[in-house]
């Protein structure tokens, strides 16, 4: 008996790895291999561990096994024809050794000019430029609604206009600062002033921000050589190959080697490798005709992993989710959203009550949706299906369809877009994506909810389905002072302790509910994070004080604090600046810092505060974890009127105001509480939303209350008199 048992155990021990090896090997059909690749990539990873009762596969939970060792890369060839990587002169790079030009490479089959023009990810405001002060943000220094021209207090530096007084960010500066989150093309290739290639720019006009950059040492303009740097072409690879090497791409951008950015994306794939500081093409990856061997180069539809490169790299996916709050992880930093299929309770983060959070970070990610399933190309025949409302009434079927060939030649890269307060670029595209209700029949569910239609009309689905954000998000950015690293003072909500400190407990936050205008003109209540920023402005028309001036005023050349800066802020006189001293909490400190700025050449500095709402659209919970509590909105403690902490303090007692291009109704009081913190108490405009139990017409209510009290007192008095008179009569 014992020997039989031993035999069974030995057989099992031998077979188990074998089964796993077989399951991981390349014996799958291409579809299975693709799916396996996705599991490794993580987009489907959470590809649920089958429940134990489902059979033998539960003995080997695929995620766990896959996590032990990265599965072999699928080497099945792509259906994409072989690609000859070419330089800008249409020479195969393997022969010329020059930087890859994707316009030349992809342009043979795809209309790259059309793609670049119809692409707000590339244009980022270049095609929506306005004169300074006329942008919808209301800022005097903004020149567009996009990343190219719309100032962002998180990244801070300002795109210098033509004829600038003092340069802050020339076009080449812009690429170096914003390029890591820009796909290329648009303003990274074309002059905003001439519409001609930036390579034609000559440094003959010292007031031309295309031709000059800021010298951070002298704080003066320095000429930029576009011939040497090249331009940053629209980088197709960033979205259309799996695992593009973004770190190397960013490294090239930051070095000002824009022309090599696309090439750097292929480092690590075997197609290119770094040789010293240079990028060399690997002969082994190329066929005789100069095309890349398919096993080294797989062109594919954009996957969520591609989008995460710029929008938030929260998900490592083959591991439990771990993330860091930083501007490199933009989406999570600004909203706390994490688009990952992984279960929250298996996260690697120090989340409060993690063991009870049996939900995925995002239910749509868990259900295998990719970003591009919702944010698809507008003329993709796969998605471009007219609904009944859009189809001409007399047609049952509209046969006029774009063929796949036509689509592949001219794919519209203006990707379908939702509604968000922060998505200010290409507002004309707002609402172009299918929203929740286009896919889900909300009325078929939600049986618990009275007045479904009214709720669906007045609330965004996320109001209940993003009832809590599980990750921290930025709360405030204070550029009025700099810390010892030369960075602004940043606070987060949703974390107890320092953000990114493994010892800090992440407890998440309850989003503020704000009325947001959607493309049908309706305002709907939806969840938001609000980020408040404090900064110095100078001049008339005003503009933010340059980061270089802040550094010159506050820091020595070696990056340490200037003694004057320490003296201005050091409250306890110990010669050091502690965290609680790094804030402009008194008029004396404000004056002292003003003087420092003026000594660095800043003219009439004053403090300004600004509130930027960020709409929460991801991190969606399924119905089981959605808000079911009526009184969370209806009642005196309604979320819709809850105080929102904007900042731990108000530098120089400045009052922040909301940006004007967020399509948000932010009514309410903004005031500093007794605890010194700045709060916003939202009020609802009953013209847009009337919440039973929360809103009332006070004077009308009082008339009613007085009528009831009057009636009660009247009958009480009458009854008492009746009682008294009857006693008297009895006595008589």
């Amino acid at each position: 008996m014992n020997s039989r048992l031993t035999l069974i155990i030995v057989v099992l021990l031998v077979l188990a790895p074998a089964v796993w090896v077989i399951s991981s090997a390349d014996v799958e059909t291409p579809a299975v291999a693709e799916a396996a690749a996705e599991v490794v990539a993580g987009d489907t990873a959470a590809v649920q561990t089958p429940p134990a009762e489902e059979g033998p596969s539960s003995l080997f939970p695929p995620l766990t096994l896959k996590s032990l060792e990265k599965a072999a890369e699928p080497r099945t060839p792509s259906i994409h024809p072989p690609v000859i990587l070419m330089d800008e002169d249409m020479e195969p790079v393997i022969r010329s050794g020059r930087p890859l030009s994707l316009a030349a490479t992809c342009g043979g089959c795809h209309n790259v000019d059309y793609i670049a023009r119809n692409n707000y990810h590339s244009q980022v405001g270049l095609n929506e430029l306005t004169p300074p002060g006329q942008a919808k943000s209301g800022r005097a220094w903004d020149v567009s609604p996009g990343m190219f021209g719309r100032w962002n207090p998180l990244t801070y530096r300002t795109l210098s206009p033509e004829g600038f007084d003092e340069i802050d960010m020339g076009t080449a500066d812009w690429i170096m600062v914003m390029g890591p989150r820009h796909v290329g093309g648009g303003p990274a290739v074309t002059s905003r002033f001439t519409g001609r290639p930036l390579t034609e720019t000559r440094a003959d006009d010292p007031k031309n921000p295309d031709a000059f950059v800021l010298d951070p040492i002298t704080r003066k303009p320095a000429a930029w050589n576009w011939q040497e740097s090249g331009v940053m072409e629209l980088n197709c690879l960033l979205c259309h190959v799996k695992d593009p090497n973004n770190a190397q791409r960013v490294a090239e951008i930051k070095k000002g080697r824009f022309g090599w950015a696309s090439s750097a994306t292929l480092l690590g794939s075997g197609v290119a490798e770094r040789d010293g500081g240079e990028i060399k093409w690997s002969a082994k990856a190329f066929a005789e005709d100069g095309s890349v061997r398919p096993e080294y180069f797989r062109v594919s539809d954009p996957r969520s992993g591609n989008c995460r490169i710029c929008h938030g790299s929260a998900c490592r996916c083959s591991d439990p989710v771990i993330f860091e709050n930083s501007l490199d992880n933009w989406g999570t930093e600004t909203t706390g959203e994490i688009f990952s299929p992984d279960p929250v309770d298996r996260s690697g983060m120090n989340l409060k009550g993690k063991e009870s959070l049996h939900l995925p970070w995002d239910v749509h990610a868990q259900r295998l949706l990719q970003c591009s399933n919702c944010h698809h190309s507008m003329n993709n025949p796969e998605y471009n299906e007219e609904t009944g409302d859009e189809r001409p009434g007399h047609l049952r079927f509209d046969a006029r369809k774009l063929g796949f060939g036509e689509y592949l030649e001219t794919p519209d890269h203006n990707l379908a877009k939702g509604h968000s307060a922060q998505g200010t670029v290409a507002r004309a595209m707002d609402g172009s994506m299918r929203d929740c209700r286009d896919c889900h029949d909300a009325e078929a569910r939600h049986d618990f909810l009275p007045y479904k239609k009214l709720h669906f009309q007045k609330l965004s689905c996320q109001t209940c389905h993003v009832q809590r954000v599980l990750a921290p998000a930025r709360m405030s950015t204070d550029w009025t002072l700099l810390d010892s690293a030369g960075e602004p003072l940043v606070t987060h909500r949703g974390v107890r302790g320092r953000v990114n400190d493994p010892a800090s407990i992440i407890d998440g936050y309850t989003p503020v509910l704000l009325m947001h205008e959607e493309d049908d003109g309706e305002y709907r209540l939806g969840p938001h994070n609000v980020i408040t920023s404090w900064f110095w402005v100078e001049g008339d028309p005003e503009r933010p004080v340059r980061e270089a001036d802040l550094k010159a005023a506050f820091l020595e050349k070696d990056g340490t604090y200037r003694p004057e800066y320490v003296r201005a802020l050091d409250e306890n006189g110990d010669g050091k600046l502690e965290e609680n001293e790094l804030r402009l909490g008194s008029a004396a400190k404000v004056e002292a810092i003003k003087k420092l700025l003026e000594s660095a050449g800043v003219k009439a500095p004053r403090i300004k505060g600004e509130i930027q709402p960020y709409t929460l659209s991801h991190g969606v919970a399924s119905g089981d974890y959605a808000l079911h509590c009526c009184q969370c909105c209806h009642g005196k403690n309604s979320r819709a009127i809850q105080d929102v902490k904007l900042s731990d303090y108000a530098p120089g007692a400045a009052e922040p105001g909301p940006v004007t291009d967020a399509r948000i109704l932010l009514h309410g009081k903004i005031e500093t509480g007794k605890d010194g913190k700045v709060y916003c108490t939202p009020t609802l405009d009953p013209g847009n939303l009337y919440l039973h139990g929360t809103q009332r017409v006070q004077w009308l209510d009082w008339i009613g209350i007085l009528a009831v009290i009057g009636s009660f007192l009247g009958v009480a008095a009458h009854g008492t008199l009746r009682f008294a008179s009857s006693r008297i009569k009895k006595a008589e």
């Binding site: 618990f448 009275p450 007045y451 479904k452 239609k453 009214l454 009309q457 009526c630 009184q631 209806h634 009642g635 005196k636 403690n637 309604s638 009953p686 013209g687 009337y690 039973h692 139990g693 929360t694 809103q695 009332r696 017409v697 009308l700 209510d701 008339i703 009613g704 209350i705 009528a707 009831v708 009057g710 009636s711 009660f712 009247g714 009958v715 009458h718 009854g719 008199l721 009746r722 008179s725 009569k729």
Partner: protein, 211 residues
């Protein structure tokens, strides 16, 4: 002389108590909806369901009563005449302001045909023609949001209907307090209540009263 007089038919009594319960439920649940977070008996969601249910019952019952009174030719008993606003009304009011305390005889004899006294007629006339329709219309419009929110918007939206409906509720509550108190002003404290339960009342008939 005491006489047992039947005032209320079985249907009328059932109708009355159904309305009474519906109004009570409406006021309680309405209060819970309006002051969620301050006052809770059933919880918000149950309160909404109860409120809607009681509202529908009240309206159906009201229309049944309208039909009953129309078919029975009884409607005129609810319509005050001009004298009810002036001479009779003043006499009635004077009784409650003064006579009731000094033991003066009630100025009117209640009969099955003229069961509503002048001030009652005026009060019910206002309630049935102003307050109740106002509550029914605003309530029904609010309820219609379940079917089509556009209808609510067409009539000014919840921002208008909500406060009006709530003001009406306060008025109903005020009426209810006085109504309950007035029950005690019969021959005995409970004689009116007894009549609405049993259907008859022991009426004391005196010469010289107007009925």
């Amino acid at each position: 002389m005491e006489k047992k007089v039947w005032f209320y038919s079985f249907y009328e009594r059932i109708w009355h108590w159904v309305q009474a319960i519906a109004v009570l439920v409406l006021i309680m649940s309405g209060f819970e909806i309006s002051y969620a977070g301050n006052f809770s008996v059933t919880g918000f969601k149950v309160a909404v369901t109860l409120h809607n249910l009681a509202g529908v019952i009240l309206v159906v019952n009201a229309f049944l009563a309208l039909f009953y009174n129309l078919a029975g030719g009884l409607l005129k008993r609810y319509v005050p005449g001009l004298e009810d606003f002036f001479t009779l009304g003043i006499r009635h009011a004077t009784y409650y302001i003064w006579g009731i305390f000094v033991g003066a005889p009630h100025p009117f004899d209640k009969t099955p045909e003229k069961r509503l006294l002048p001030l009652q007629k005026i009060t019910y006339f206002m309630i049935l023609n102003v307050l109740l329709p106002l509550m029914i219309v605003t309530g029904a419009l609010k309820l219609s949001a379940e079917v089509n929110p556009a209808w609510v918007e067409y009539f000014g939206g919840l921002k208008l209907l909500g406060p009006i409906h709530r003001f009406g509720a306060w008025m109903f509550a005020a009426f209810l307090i006085v109504h309950v108190y007035m029950i005690t002003t019969g021959h005995t404290i409970f004689s009116n209540l007894k009549a609405m339960v049993l259907g008859y009342e022991e009426v004391h008939l005196d010469d010289g009263k107007e009925g």
